[in-house]
């Protein structure tokens, strides 16, 4: 039963659609998804996952009943994790007054043991809101997407050199005009530093770089 139609395990629904299995057809979750303008495709060879979403994520839904009934949902979670799909695997967990006391243990299992992503919902209505948010939010710019930081290193080098005791902005600039990198500056002899910053500071800089830091090792 598990080797049926493996290609469908990685089926990505078109934009604005969700693929789910027949057992969800009459659920309130599907009804409110439809109400929210999400198109539903039914497919019975979906594997363990309950929903496939267009942003290449899939969802396993763990209900209040699953949690209270005991351990079989854990086996399902393990199978879900072990399915070698290219989807991002999400787990929606119903956190209700009844399942609340077990939530901690469920979270430990899902997040810390299995390394999956858990999102708590109070029930199918909240789940459908979250799912339609994922479906409709696809394609919008993600503010959390990491932008590559400024590649300009010069100011960073200048700031770093000013962390050497006795060296302020003016001296740092003068030093870097002569020794253009931290590496060169560190390996300059005191007599080479002296014409730029004077004897005392030259000595101070040299000993700052070369004095022992590690404790007794």
């Amino acid at each position: 039963m598990e080797s049926k139609a493996p290609s469908l395990l990685n089926a990505v629904p078109p934009y604005g659609h969700v693929i789910t299995s027949e057992k969800w057809r009459n659920s309130s979750l599907i009804q409110s998804l439809k109400g929210g303008g999400v198109n539903i495709l039914f497919e019975n060879e979906l594997g363990v996952a309950d929903f496939h979403l267009p942003n290449k994520s899939c969802i396993l839904y763990v209900s209040e009943c699953d949690i209270i009934a005991g351990n079989s949902y854990k086996r399902k979670l393990v199978r879900y994790r072990n399915t070698s799909s290219s989807f991002q695997e999400l787990v929606l967990v119903e956190k209700t007054r009844l399942s609340e006391q077990n939530f901690s243990a469920v979270q430990k299992f899902v997040v810390l043991d299995l390394g999956l992503t858990l999102l708590p919902v109070s029930g199918q209505t909240e789940a459908s809101q979250l799912i339609s948010q994922i479906v409709h939010g696809e394609g919008r710019e993600n503010p959390f997407r990491r932008r590559s930081s400024s590649r300009l290193l010069d100011p960073k080098v200048l700031v770093l050199v000013q962390r050497v005791p006795g060296v302020g902005g003016v001296k740092a600039l003068a030093l870097l005009q002569e020794f253009s990198s931290v590496h060169q500056l560190c390996n300059a002899a005191p007599h080479e530093l002296e014409p730029i910053v004077g004897q005392a500071t030259a000595q101070q800089i040299h000993s700052f770089f070369h004095k022992a830091t590690a404790a007794g090792t």
Binding site: N55, Q88, L90, K95, F103, S104, Q107, V111, L112, T117, L118, L119, P120, E126, Q129, L130, Q133, I134, G137, N142, P143, F144, R145, R146, S149, L152, L153, D154, P155, K156, V157, L158, V159, L160, Q162, R163, V164, P165, G168, G169, V170, A172, L173, L176, Q177, S180, S181, V182, H183, C186, N187, F208, F209, H210, K211, A212, T213, A214, A215, T217
Partner: protein, 237 residues
């Protein structure tokens, strides 16, 4: 089950800003979870639980408010530059004494923030209060310990010269407090680090290869072009 007798206590670095209003969490970490804590000044209010993992804590209503989004995105971005793994503990809002706890109103902004965080690889953890948050921090630190990523150097740096060296290391690009701490303890002098190979930096800093490469390149970066045409640069910062 998770707390085996032989495992050494977990070490956690805490930003000083976490102290205000966080005494319950700190006490619980120390007493119930026997964690070794060190309070230091990080670049934001967060926790470091291993060589590669930072944990920030936010209230549920924080994530639900649109006006917090930009700031949150900046925080997450900067943490992702410093750490391989970033976790967010989402803590239920505390109800004031005497006030009936209001059910949390889930907004569209909240859902889209969660979705965005998940798709950027931030790991989310859920907590009902300080006690549970402490448990999650300890669990994370223990998990990292089992994976060989625990903070293994002393959490303190003693002596003014060593403090100054630590401050210098913190000025290196993409170097977090825990990397700087490792560098301070593992290199006999600043010059030794500066003259080290990429492999030695990676090992001494308990960091990834790419981070070590970035440091190696930075130390040898030659900055003449900028210096020549900005005589005012020295006055800023």
């Amino acid at each position: 089950q998770s707390s085996s007798v032989s495992a050494p206590p977990v070490c956690i670095l805490v930003d000083s800003r976490c102290l205000s209003g966080g005494s319950e969490l700190m006490t619980s970490l120390r007493q119930r979870h026997a964690a070794t804590l060190h309070v230091c000044s990080l670049d934001g209010s967060y926790f470091i639980v291993s060589n590669r993992t930072a944990v920030e804590k936010h209230s549920q209503s924080d994530l639900a408010a649109m006006q917090n989004r930009k700031r949150l995105a900046e925080r997450v971005n900067s943490l992702q530059g410093l750490f391989e793994r970033v976790c967010l503990i989402v803590e239920k809002d505390r109800s004031k004494p005497g006030e009936a706890s209001r059910p949390f109103q889930r907004t569209r902004c909240y859902d889209s923030t969660l979705t965005a965080l998940v798709s950027t690889g931030v790991r989310l953890l859920w907590s009902d209060g300080a006690e549970q948050s402490a448990g999650l921090l300890a669990d994370l630190a223990r998990l990292e310990q089992r994976k060989g990523q625990a903070i293994s150097v002393p959490l303190e740096v003693k002596g003014s010269h060593r403090q100054q060296a630590l401050q210098l290391y913190l000025g290196l690009p993409s170097v977090s407090y825990v990397h700087a701490l490792s560098l301070s303890h593992n290199f006999s002098s600043i010059a030794q680090l500066i003259n080290s190979s990429i492999e030695a930096i990676q090992k001494g800093g308990s960091m990834s290869r790419s981070r070590a490469e970035e440091i190696y390149r930075f130390l040898r970066y030659s900055c003449d072009s900028f210096m020549m045409n900005s005589s005012t640069a020295g006055k800023s910062s």
